[in-house]
C-alpha cells in the first residue's frame, strides 16, 4: 500500500501520543501499586524498586516501539506486558474487592511474554503451531483467572461471614481451587516449554541474519522461559520452597529486565538498519557519480544494509532481457528456496533487480521496502540521467548539423555569386568598356559619357556583390583558411590589430567559419563601442581544442546581452560544444574568448 508522507507523519504522531499517554498511565499505575507494598516485611525497598524497574522497562520499550513502528504490534504488546506486570501489585490495596481482582488477574504477563518470544520482531506469530500454543496458554491462564476469581473470593463476597453454610462453601471452593492448581500449573509449564521449543526452532532454522536479529530477544526469552519452567516446575514437583526464595526472585527480575532491554536493543538495531539503508543510498549515489556500478560493491552495500552477509543481487539487464550475477554473467531468473527468500525490485514491465536473502528479513517488510525503494530510486535516477544525456547529445548533434548545413549553404551561395552573377557582371563591365572605346572612336561623346556612367554603376554593383559574398562567407576563408582570413580582417579593421594565428592545419569548415565570425564580430564591436586604440587577435589550437581571444585597450564595461551581436555567436559556438566568455572591466579594456572542441 502506498502511503503519503503526510499520512505517515500523522499516523506516527498519533501513535506517539497514544504510546506516551499509555506510558504515563502505566507508570502511574505501577508506581501506585508498588508504593502500596512499601513497609511489608516480604517487600524490602530494593525488591519493590527492582519490581518497578522490571515492569517499567517493558512499558518504556513498548512506548518507544509503538511510537517508532505504529504498524508493528510489538509496542502495544510490550506495554501490555508492563501493565499486567503491575496488576499484582494492587493485591494489597486496602479494599478486599480490588485486592481480589488484582490477585486474580495477576500473572497475565507470562503468556504475553510467550507471545513476545514467538512474535518478535514482526509482531505476528508465524506458524499455526505457535499460534495454537500461545492461544492455548492465554486460554489456560484465562481459565485459571476465572477459577481464582470465583473460588478464592474474599469472605465478604459470600455475604454474611458467619451465616450457616458460608464457611463450608468457602472451604469447598478453596479446596476445589487447590485441586485445580496442580494440573493447571502443569499445563502452564508445558505450554511454556512448547514456547521455548518453538523459539529454539526459530533460531535453528533462521539464517545468520535471522539469528542476529533474533539473538537479543531470543536469548533473554530463553532464559525467561527457563525461569518460568524452573520456578514453576520446581515448585510443582520438586522444591516448593524455592518458589519464595528471594534469590530466585532477584534472578528472575534480572532476566526479565534484560529481556525488555534486549527487545529495545533489537529495535535500536532496526534503527541502525534504517541508517544502513541511508548508507546504501549514499553508496548508490557514489556509484552513479563515479560511474562505478560494480555489482559486487552494490551487493556488499546491500548486505550491510540488510545485515545479511548471504544476500545476493541479480541486476536485470534490459538489453538482453535477463538477470546477471555479481560477475556480470547472464543467469536464469533467481527463485526462492526453502531457506532463501526472493525479493523482486521493480515491476514485471520494468524489472530492476532480484535479491535473494535470509527469509527472516521478511519479518521486517519495512526494511525490505526501504532497500528495494533505494535501489529502484537509484535505477530510475540512472535511467533518467541516461535519457537526459542522450537527449542532450542529440540536441548538440542537431545544433552542430544545423551550423554545418548553414555554412555549407553559405558556401554554396557565395560560390554561386562568385562564379555566376559576379562573373557575368564582370563580363558585362568588360563589354561596356569595349563599347565605350568604340563610341569614342566614332566621335560620339554623348554615347561615351552614357556608357561611362553605366560602367561606373556596374563596378559599384560588382563591389556590392563582393561585399555581400564576403558577408555570407569570405572566399579567402574558404580558399586559404582561418589564418589568411584573420589577417585580412586585421588589415581591413579601422584600428591597428595584431593578429597571431597558431594552428597545426586547417580546421573543420564549421569551426573555421564560426571562429571567423567571432573574430569579425569582436573586431566590429571594438570599432563601434570600445573606443580602443589597439586590438589583438590570437588563435591557438592544441590537444583537440581551439581558442580565439580578442583583446582591446578600450573603455571596457561591455555586456554580451546588450546588442553586441555576440548572443547569436554564443549560440553558434554552443552548438559546436564550445563556450564564449567576456571579461570587460570598466576602464580596463575587454577580452573576448571562445573555446571549441575540435572533432578528431
Amino acid at each position: 500500500m502506498t502511503q503519503t508522507a503526510g499520512h505517515r507523519s500523522r499516523a506516527t504522531l498519533g501513535a506517539a501520543v497514544v504510546a506516551l499517554v499509555a506510558l504515563v498511565a502505566g507508570t502511574a499505575f505501577g508506581a501506585a501499586g508498588e508504593l502500596q507494598q512499601l513497609g511489608y516485611v516480604d517487600r524490602p525497598p530494593a525488591f519493590v524498586l527492582g519490581d518497578f524497574i522490571g515492569g517499567w522497562t517493558f512499558m518504556a520499550a513498548g512506548a518507544i516501539a509503538w511510537a517508532r513502528r505504529p504498524d508493528n504490534r510489538i509496542g502495544p504488546l510490550l506495554l501490555a506486558i508492563g501493565f499486567t506486570w503491575f496488576v499484582g501489585t494492587w493485591g494489597r490495596f486496602p479494599n478486599e474487592s480490588v485486592s481480589h481482582l488484582a490477585r486474580s488477574f495477576q500473572g497475565f504477563y507470562e503468556p504475553l511474554l510467550g507471545v513476545l518470544v514467538l512474535a518478535y520482531p514482526s509482531g505476528r506469530i508465524a506458524g499455526r503451531l505457535g499460534r495454537l500454543v500461545v492461544v492455548g496458554w492465554l486460554v489456560e491462564h484465562g481459565a485459571w483467572t476465572v477459577a481464582r476469581l470465583t473460588l478464592e473470593r474474599p469472605l465478604s463476597w459470600y455475604g454474611c461471614a458467619t451465616c450457616p453454610g458460608t464457611v463450608d462453601a468457602l472451604i469447598a471452593d478453596r479446596t476445589l481451587l487447590q485441586a485445580i492448581a496442580p494440573p493447571s500449573l502443569a499445563l502452564s509449564v508445558g505450554l511454556a516449554i512448547a514456547v521455548l521449543l518453538l523459539a529454539a526452532r526459530r533460531l535453528i532454522v533462521a539464517g545468520p541474519a535471522g539469528r542476529r536479529r533474533l539473538a537479543p530477544v531470543a536469548l533473554a526469552s530463553l532464559a525467561l522461559g527457563a525461569g518460568i519452567v524452573a520456578t514453576g516446575g520446581l515448585r510443582l514437583v520438586i522444591m516448593p520452597g524455592l518458589f519464595g526464595d528471594p534469590r530466585v526472585a532477584a534472578l528472575t527480575y534480572v532476566v526479565l529486565t534484560l529481556a525488555a532491554v534486549a527487545v529495545l536493543a533489537g529495535l535500536l538495531q532496526d534503527r541502525l538498519a534504517r541508517t544502513a539503508v541511508a548508507d546504501l543510498v549514499i553508496d548508490l549515489r557514489h556509484d552513479a557519480a563515479t560511474g562505478d556500478a560494480d555489482p559486487r560493491r552494490l551487493r556488499d552495500a546491500l548486505a550491510r544494509a540488510l545485515g545479511d552477509p548471504s544476500v545476493e543481487l541479480f541486476p536485470f539487464d534490459q538489453e538482453v532481457n535477463a538477470y546477471r550475477d555479481a560477475s556480470g554473467a547472464i543467469v536464469p531468473a533467481p527463485e526462492a528456496g526453502p531457506r532463501r527468500a526472493l525479493t523482486l525490485v521493480g515491476t514485471d514491465a520494468a524489472r530492476v533487480a532480484a535479491i535473494t536473502h535470509d527469509p527472516s528479513l521478511l519479518d521486517d517488510p519495512g526494511l525490505i521496502s526501504a532497500v528495494t525503494a533505494a535501489i529502484r530510486l537509484e535505477a530510475d535516477n540512472r535511467q533518467l540521467a541516461a535519457e537526459v544525456e542522450r537527449q542532450l547529445a542529440e540536441l548538440r548533434a542537431s545544433r552542430a548539423r544545423i551550423v554545418t548545413a548553414t555554412d555549407a549553404e553559405r558556401r554554396r551561395v557565395e560560390r554561386d555569386l562568385h562564379d555566376g552573377a559576379q562573373q557575368r557582371l564582370v563580363s558585362l563591365s568588360m563589354e561596356l568598356g569595349r563599347l565605350r572605346a568604340t563610341a569614342g572612336q566614332s566621335g560620339d561623346p554623348a554615347m561615351v559619357a552614357a556608357l561611362g556612367g553605366l560602367s561606373g554603376e556596374l563596378e559599384a554593383a560588382i563591389e556590392e556583390l563582393r561585399e555581400l559574398a564576403r558577408g555570407i562567407l569570405p572566399p579567402i576563408l574558404t580558399d586559404a583558411g582561418l589564418g589568411a582570413a584573420v589577417e585580412s580582417l586585421a588589415l581591413r579593421a579601422a584600428l591597428p590589430v595584431d593578429a597571431e594565428v597558431d594552428l597545426p592545419g586547417r580546421l573543420p569548415p564549421a569551426i573555421e567559419s564560426t571562429l571567423y565570425f567571432v573574430i569579425a564580430e569582436g573586431l566590429a564591436n571594438v570599432t563601434r563601442h570600445a573606443h580602443a586604440s589597439h586590438a589583438s587577435v590570437r588563435v591557438a589550437g592544441r590537444d583537440g581544442r581551439v581558442s580565439v581571444e580578442i583583446e582591446d585597450d578600450g573603455i571596457g564595461g561591455a555586456q554580451a546581452d546588450r546588442g553586441s551581436g555576440l548572443q547569436g555567436l554564443s549560440d553558434r559556438v554552443g552548438a559546436l560544444g564550445g563556450t564564449i566568455r567576456i571579461v570587460s572591466t570598466p576602464g580596463r579594456g575587454t577580452s573576448l574568448r571562445a573555446d571549441l572542441p575540435v572533432p578528431t
Partner: protein, 189 residues
C-alpha cells in the same frame, strides 16, 4: 507467603498463606522440635472423638470441657498489633479484624476473620479439630490443607461470659496478641 506482584513466575498458583497461618505452622514446628507431647500432630485425636473431659477438668473446680463449645468473638485492631511492637502492614492486615472462634460439640473448630477496614485477608477461614479438658486444649488445623497436621496448645478459663485464652509456647510475637489481648465473648451457643 503468597507473592503479591509480578515475579517470580507462577505466583498465581495456590491460595496464599496468611501471616497467622504461617505463625501457626511455625508454632507447630517449634513444638515438634521441643518435644512437647501435646503439640505434636500425632497427639491429636480424631475429630469424631470430640472434646474430652478428663479428670483434670473436674479437679480444682475447673469448667467442664463442654463449656468451650460455642462461638466466641474478639476484635483485634491494628493499633493493638502496633502497641505490641508489630510494625509490618502485612501482619497488621492479616492479624487484625473480628475473629470468631467456634468450637463444635463434635471436636471441630472453625476460626473466621472479618476485616474491619476492608484490608484484604487471604485466609479468612481456618478449620480443624481439637481436644480439650477443663483447662487446656490442643487445636489441630485441617484447613487450609497446607497447614494440616498442625496443633497449638492453649490453656483456657472462663471469666463470667468471657473466655480467656493463653497460648503456650508462642512461636512468635504476633499470635499471642491475637489470642490473648482481649477476652473472647460468647456470641453463640
Amino acid at each position: 507467603m503468597d507473592h503479591l506482584g509480578s515475579p517470580p513466575f507462577m505466583a498465581r498458583r495456590g491460595p496464599g498463606m496468611t501471616f497467622a497461618g504461617f505463625a501457626l505452622v511455625m508454632t507447630l514446628a517449634a513444638a515438634a522440635c521441643s518435644g512437647s507431647p501435646t503439640a505434636t500432630p500425632g497427639s491429636t485425636g480424631p475429630a469424631s472423638t470430640g472434646p474430652t473431659s478428663t479428670a483434670s477438668a473436674t479437679d480444682g473446680g475447673a469448667a467442664p470441657a463442654t463449656a468451650l463449645v460455642g462461638a466466641w468473638t474478639t476484635t483485634i485492631t491494628k493499633a493493638d498489633l502496633q502497641a505490641a511492637g508489630i510494625t509490618d502492614p502485612g501482619a497488621h492486615n492479616e492479624n487484625s479484624g473480628r475473629f470468631t472462634f467456634t468450637f463444635g460439640p463434635d471436636g471441630s473448630w472453625t476460626q473466621v476473620q472479618e476485616s474491619l477496614d476492608g484490608s484484604p485477608i487471604y485466609n479468612p477461614v481456618f478449620r480443624g479439630t481439637y481436644t480439650a479438658d477443663g483447662a487446656s486444649f490442643v487445636a489441630t488445623t485441617t484447613f487450609p490443607e497446607e497447614y494440616a497436621d498442625a496443633g497449638l496448645h492453649f490453656t483456657w478459663a472462663l471469666a463470667g461470659a468471657d473466655l480467656k485464652l493463653d497460648l503456650l509456647d508462642p512461636p512468635d510475637d504476633v499470635l499471642p496478641v491475637v489470642m490473648e489481648t482481649r477476652p473472647w465473648t460468647r456470641t453463640g451457643g
